[in-house]
C-alpha cells in the first residue's frame, strides 16, 4: 500500500522524522518496504497483511499512527448538499443475489461537467501510482484510497430502464469491461445490470458501455459490499485483479458504505459541479455490529508471558476504536469497530494489545527447560550413508520431485503402476511424481555431460512416490547412485552401506542376491538384494539402446536402495567381536574357468568346500590369455584367507583346505589351477 505523506497529514499530525514513524509502523505490523520522493512528497510503501483491510486506505494508516503517537485522528464528515428531487424518481434498485452482495447503495448526481481533476487531487493520485482519468473517476479512486471502500461511477444515461439489478450472471454471459475486453461470465459471479444487460462485474470492474466519458452529465455512484469469496473466485477465474477486488477479497467495512458514498459525491460536486439528488437507494440499510468479546486479564499473561497494566490494555483497545462496554478488575467486554472484521476473538484482542504495547517489551531471556532430545536412528543411518557415498567419490545432488516425459520416465523398478501427476507442472513439462530417483540422476548426468564435466558420480536421497490404488501414494525414501563405467563402484557403495548398517540380529531377514532384468538395464547386468520377498536394493548398467536415445556419451551404472526398509533393520551401534589372536594364512589361487562362470557361483562353491577355516574369499582380478587357455576361458585370481579361532594354523591344514577347494572347483565348475 502506497501512502502519500502529504495526504496522510490531512487526518493526523505527526511531529517526528519519517524514519521514526516508518519504524514504529513496521514494529506494530505494517512493514516498511521502501520510501520514494515523488514530486517532492515522500511516498511510503507499507506491507499490509491480508487480515488488515482497514489499512488499505490512508485513513486506516493514519489511525495506526494516531494510536501509536496518542494524537487525534481527524476524519472528515461529508455533508454534500442535495437537490429537492429524489433519487427514487429516476432509479429503482433490486438485489437478487444477497449472498454475493450483502449491501448495495446508489446515489445520483445530475448535471456534472467532466474535466480534469484539480491539481492537488491529481498530484496525490499520481504520487501513489494511480492514473488520473477525469474529475469523476478520479474522485471515486481518491475516496477508495482514502478509506479503502471501492466506488464506481456509471454514466446514468447508459443505464437503461431506470433500473439497477444486482443478480447472478447468466452462464456464458458476455461482458465488455472498461478495459475493452470481453469476459465470459458464469452463474456464480455477480453482475450489476440495468433493465437489459450487465453494466458492471460486481466488485471487480465496471462495464465499457456505461463508463463515464467526456459527454457524461448524469452519474450513478455505487458504494457496495461484496462477499470476499465470490469476488476472489471471479477475479481469479477471469484473471482480472483490480484495486477494488483486492479490497473486497479482504472484507471491507460494511458500515462505511454510506460515508464513502457521501464523501465521493461531495468531491464530485466540488470538482465537477452538478446536483446530488435527495436520498440514497440502499438494499440493506442496517448497521452491522461485530459481536462483543470477553477479554480476561489472566489470558493476556497466559499468551504473552508478561503483565501489562490492565488500564493500559483497555486503553490500547479504546484507541484502536474498540468500545469497552463493561469493565471489571479481571474482565472486560469489548466491541470491536466494524472496520476491524479481523477481531472476532479474545486472542485477536490480545494480539492488538501486544502489537501496540510493543513486541519489544516481551523479554527474550525466558527459561527454556531442558529435555532429552536425541538423534533419530534415521539421522544416524543417513549420516553413515552420506559418509560412505562421499568417501567413494560421489557428490550429493538434490533434484526436483517431479520429472517430465522422456525416454527415462518409464524407469520404475519399485512400482508397475502408472505414476501420479500434478495438474500444474512444477517446472516446464515436469508434472510426473517420480517413482525412482534414476530418471533425475540421468538428467543430472546429462546436464554435466553438456557442461563437459567428466567422471561424474552422483547420489541423491529423497522420496519416490509409489502409486497405491485409490489411497495416498506411498512415499518411499530411496538412495540413488549413478556412476560411469565400473558397476563395481556402485556395488561397492551399497555393500559398504549394508556392511555398516544392515542388522545382524535374528529378526533381520537374510539378504539374497537375485538377477533382475528390466528394459532399462543392459541385459544380464541387473542384480537385486532381496529381503524375503521385498527388494532392498538393486544395481545395473543402463541399456545401450536407452543410453543412445538419451544421447549419453558413455557407460552409465546405476543403483537404488529402499532406505525405509534399510532403516527397519538398521543396526545403529556396531557390536564388538573378538579379534582372533592367531595369524591368518593367505593362499592365492589362479583358476582358469569358463567365461560364463560368475563370481557368485564360484564364491558359493569355494565357501561351501572350504569349511570353517576359510574366513574370507577375496577377489583379486580377472584376466584372459586365449593363447594359453583357449577361447571362452578366463583366469580368476583370488585369495583364500584361512584362520583358526583356537590356534595357529599349520601349513598342512591350509593345504587341506586348498585341496578341498580345488577339488570342488574342478569337479563342479571345471576350474583348473594355473601352475
Amino acid at each position: 500500500m502506497l501512502i502519500s505523506w502529504d495526504w496522510l497529514s490531512d487526518y493526523v499530525k505527526i511531529d517526528c522524522p519519517l524514519e521514526e514513524i516508518v519504524s514504529r509502523w513496521a514494529m506494530s505490523g505494517l512493514n516498511h518496504e521502501g520510501t520514494e520522493i515523488v514530486e517532492g512528497v515522500p511516498v511510503i510503501d507499507l506491507e499490509v497483511t491480508s487480515n488488515r483491510a482497514d489499512c488499505l486506505g490512508h485513513i486506516g494508516i493514519a489511525r495506526e499512527a494516531s494510536v501509536l503517537y496518542r494524537v487525534p485522528l481527524v476524519v472528515p464528515q461529508p455533508r454534500p448538499a442535495t437537490a429537492k428531487s429524489s433519487i427514487a424518481s429516476v432509479l429503482q434498485l433490486e438485489n437478487l443475489f444477497q449472498d454475493a452482495c450483502p449491501r448495495y447503495t446508489a446515489r445520483v448526481i445530475r448535471g456534472v461537467k467532466i474535466g480534469p481533476s484539480p491539481e492537488w487531487l491529481a498530484k496525490r493520485l499520481r504520487a501513489i501510482g494511480i492514473k488520473t482519468i477525469n474529475n469523476v473517476v478520479d474522485a471515486t479512486n481518491y475516496v477508495m484510497m482514502e478509506c479503502g471502500q471501492p466506488l464506481h461511477a456509471f454514466d446514468l444515461a447508459h443505464i437503461r430502464g431506470g433500473k439497477i439489478i444486482v443478480r447472478p450472471a447468466a452462464d456464458k454471459e458476455n461482458f465488455l469491461a472498461i478495459d475493452h475486453k470481453t469476459y465470459v461470465l458464469d452463474s456464480q459471479m455477480v453482475v450489476i445490470a440495468d433493465a437489459e444487460r450487465a453494466v458492471a462485474l460486481g466488485g471487480v470492474m465496471g462495464g465499457a458501455e456505461s463508463e463515464v466519458s467526456d459527454t457524461t452529465t448524469d452519474l450513478l455512484i455505487e458504494s457496495a459490499s461484496f462477499a470476499p469469496m465470490s469476488i476472489r473466485r471471479a477475479a481469479r477465474k477471469l484473471k482480472l485483479h483490480s484495486p477494488s477486488s483486492h479490497r473486497y477479497e479482504r472484507r471491507i467495512d460494511p458500515n462505511q458504505l454510506d460515508w464513502a458514498s457521501r464523501r465521493c459525491c461531495e468531491l464530485i460536486l466540488a470538482t465537477a459541479g452538478g446536483e446530488l439528488l435527495d436520498g440514497v437507494l440502499d438494499t440493506n440499510p442496517v448497521q452491522t455490529n461485530l459481536p462483543e468479546i470477553e477479554l480476561r486479564k489472566s489470558q493476556i499473561v497466559r499468551v504473552l508471558g508478561i503483565e501489562i497494566p490492565w488500564e493500559t490494555s483497555c486503553d490500547i483497545l479504546k484507541r484502536l476504536g474498540c468500545e469497552i462496554t463493561k469493565v471489571g478488575e479481571q474482565h472486560c467486554t469489548v466491541a470491536p469497530p466494524s472496520f476491524r472484521q479481523d477481531l472476532p476473538r479474545e486472542v485477536d484482542l490480545i494480539e492488538e494489545v501486544a502489537r501496540i504495547y510493543g513486541y519489544e517489551q516481551i523479554p527474550e531471556d525466558a527459561m527454556v527447560p531442558m529435555v532429552a532430545s536425541m538423534r533419530r536412528p534415521k539421522d544416524i543411518v543417513m549420516s553413515t550413508l552420506r559418509n560412505v557415498a562421499t568417501a567413494a567419490g560421489f557428490d550429493e545432488t538434490l533434484n526436483p520431485s517431479l520429472i517430465g516425459r522422456g525416454p527415462a520416465d518409464r524407469i520404475s523398478p519399485w512400482s508397475s503402476e502408472a505414476p501420479l501427476a500434478t495438474m500444474v507442472p512444477l517446472l516446464e513439462g515436469a508434472s510426473i511424481l517420480r517413482r525412482s530417483l534414476i530418471p533425475s540422476l540421468i538428467a543430472a548426468r546429462l546436464h554435466n555431460q553438456s557442461q563437459s564435466n567428466r567422471d561424474v558420480r552422483l547420489f541423491e536421497t529423497a522420496n519416490v512416490y509409489l502409486p497405491n490404488g485409490n489411497q495416498l501414494p506411498r512415499e518411499q525414501l530411496n538412495l540413488g547412485c549413478i556412476a560411469e563405467s565400473e558397476l563395481r563402484i556402485v556395488r561397492g557403495v551399497f555393500e559398504e552401506i549394508l556392511h555398516r548398517v544392515w542388522g545382524v540380529g535374528s529378526d533381520t531377514p537374510k539378504l539374497s542376491e537375485t538377477k533382475v532384468s528390466w528394459d532399462f538395464l543392459e541385459s544380464g547386468s541387473g542384480i537385486a538384494w532381496m529381503a524375503g520377498e521385498t527388494m532392498l536394493c538393486w544395481i545395473g548398467s543402463l541399456s545401450r539402446s536407452l543410453s543412445q536415445s538419451l544421447k549419453l556419451d558413455g557407460a552409465v551404472t546405476l543403483g537404488e536402495t529402499n532406505l525405509d526398509l534399510l532403516l527397519q533393520h538398521a543396526q545403529l551401534v556396531p557390536r564388538v567381536r573378538d579379534v582372533v589372536p592367531f595369524p591368518a594364512i593367505e593362499r592365492d589361487l589362479n583358476l582358469v574357468v569358463d567365461e560364463a562362470l560368475q563370481w557368485q557361483s564360484l564364491q558359493g562353491v569355494i565357501s561351501q568346500s572350504a569349511g570353517p577355516l576359510c574366513v574370507d574369499i577375496l577377489f583379486r582380478e580377472i584376466y584372459r590369455d586365449t593363447n594359453r587357455d583357449g577361447a571362452g576361458k578366463k583366469r580368476v585370481l583370488l585369495t583364500l584367507k584361512l584362520q583358526s579361532a583356537t590356534d595357529t594354523l599349520r601349513s598342512e591344514q591350509a593345504d587341506e583346505v586348498v585341496a578341498s577347494v580345488l577339488g570342488a572347483c574342478r569337479s563342479q565348475l571345471g576350474a583348473q589351477l594355473l601352475a
Partner: protein
C-alpha cells in the same frame, strides 16, 4: 615348482645383475638396470617373486628365506654402484631425487549438498534447544495442509493455481471448489504440526524439515520446490516469552552472537499473535522466519483444549539461510546438479 629350480632362478638373476653393474658407466644406465632388476612393475626380482607361490608349500619357507637374501644382496649391489656416481658430482642425478613439491595424491571425496548441510546444521542447533526431529508426508490432503491450519476455503492460499494439486478425477475443477479428498504436494511443513498433534501425546517440542512446493516461476530467488523448517512447542505454560527466547537463541546460534534481530507483528492464519523475525544484514532488515502462538482454532481442530495448553510454532525457509551461509546468489544453482557447483561445498 621344485625348490632348486626356484633358487637357481634367483642365483642366475643375481649373477647377471652383478656383471651388469660392474660395467655400468652412467647414471642413466644405472637407472635402467635398477628398473630392470628391482622395478616395482616388471623387475626381474618381481617376476621371481611371483614364482614363489608356485613353489611346493613345504619348500616355501626355505624359498622365501633365500629370496630375501638375494633381494638384499641385489639392493646392496645397486646401492654400491649408485655411490660411485654420487661421489662423482655430475652423477648425482643417478639417484632420483624426491620432489616434495609435486602435487599430493588427494583422495577423491564427494561433497554433501549445501541444503543437506544446512538441514543438518539446523537440526543440530534445535536439538540442543530440546527439539526432536519428526517428519510428515509430502503429499497431503487439504485437511492437514489447510483446514486444520485455520486456512478457510476462501483463503487465497488455497487457490488451485497456487498449489500443486494431484491430477485425479476428484481434483478436476480448476478454479475453487476442490473436493474434500483432494491431494496436493504440501505447500508448507506446518502440515506436520497437525499430524504430530493428532498422533503424539503432549507436551511436544518438535521440528520438521523437508521439501515444500509452490508454483513460483523460477528466478534467482524463487524455485517451485524448496525446503522449510517448522518448529512447534506445546506445553502447559508456553508464552511469547518462550517464543522470543527460543528464536533469539536459534538466531544467535545460526547467525552469530553479534546478530541484530527484531520481532515484529505479522499475520498467519495458524498463529495468533503472529511474529515476523528479521535480522540486520548489509544495512537492511532481512526476513528470517515467521512464528506465532498456536491459534486456538488450530488447537480446536486437533482436539487440544486451548485453555489448558498453549504453544508456539515457527517456520523458516532453508534455502535463504543456506544461500546466505555459502554466498550462493542463484537458488536455481542448488537444483542443477552441476558437479562444479556441488564440489565447492566439500566440508
Amino acid at each position: 615348482m621344485a625348490l632348486d629350480r626356484f633358487v637357481n632362478s634367483l642365483e642366475t638373476m643375481l649373477e647377471e645383475a652383478r656383471v651388469s653393474l660392474q660395467s655400468v658407466d652412467s647414471a642413466e644406465a644405472l637407472e635402467q638396470l635398477r628398473v630392470k632388476f628391482v622395478g616395482a612393475k616388471n623387475g626381474a626380482l618381481k617376476s621371481v617373486q611371483k614364482m614363489l607361490s608356485e613353489v611346493a608349500p613345504e619348500d616355501r619357507p626355505a624359498a622365501g628365506k633365500r629370496f630375501n637374501e638375494v633381494r638384499e644382496a641385489l639392493q646392496a649391489a645397486l646401492d654400491g654402484a649408485s655411490d660411485r656416481f654420487a661421489s662423482g658430482g655430475a652423477a648425482k642425478s643417478a639417484q632420483p631425487a624426491t620432489d616434495p613439491t609435486l602435487p599430493g595424491l588427494r583422495p577423491r571425496i564427494g561433497s554433501v549438498h549445501p541444503i543437506t548441510q544446512t538441514l543438518e546444521h539446523l537440526k543440530e542447533i534445535m536439538g540442543r534447544l530440546g527439539f526432536s526431529v519428526t517428519e510428515g508426508p509430502e503429499i497431503e490432503d487439504e485437511w492437514h495442509n489447510f483446514v486444520a491450519l485455520n486456512i478457510p476455503d476462501d483463503h487465497p492460499a488455497r487457490d488451485p493455481l497456487d498449489n500443486f494439486y494431484l491430477a485425479t478425477a476428484k481434483n478436476a475443477d480448476p478454479v475453487g471448489n476442490s473436493a474434500p479428498a483432494a491431494r496436493l504436494m504440501r505447500s508448507q511443513t506446518s502440515t506436520v504440526q497437525i499430524r504430530v498433534m493428532e498422533s503424539q501425546p503432549l507436551p511436544l517440542r518438535i521440528i520438521s524439515l523437508g521439501r515444500v512446493y509452490r508454483p513460483d516461476a523460477p528466478d534467482a530467488t524463487h524455485f517451485p520446490m524448496f525446503h522449510q523448517m517448522e518448529g512447534l512447542w506445546v506445553d502447559r505454560n508456553v508464552t511469547m516469552t518462550q517464543l522470543k527466547s527460543v528464536l533469539r537463541l536459534f538466531a544467535t546460534s545460526y547467525l552469530g552472537g553479534d546478530v541484530n534481530v527484531r520481532f515484529r507483528p505479522s499475520f498467519f492464519p495458524f498463529t495468533e499473535p503472529s511474529v515476523e523475525v528479521d535480522y540486520w544484514w548489509n544495512g537492511q532488515w532481512i526476513e528470517f522466519g515467521g512464528a506465532g502462538m498456536v491459534d486456538p482454532n488450530v488447537f480446536a481442530s486437533v482436539n487440544i483444549d486451548p485453555e489448558k495448553w498453549s504453544g508456539f510454532a515457527f517456520g523458516l525457509g532453508v534455502e535463504r539461510l543456506c544461500m546466505r551461509r555459502f554466498g550462493i546468489t542463484d537458488i536455481r544453482d542448488l537444483y542443477r546438479s552441476d558437479v562444479r557447483f556441488l564440489r565447492q561445498f566439500a566440508s
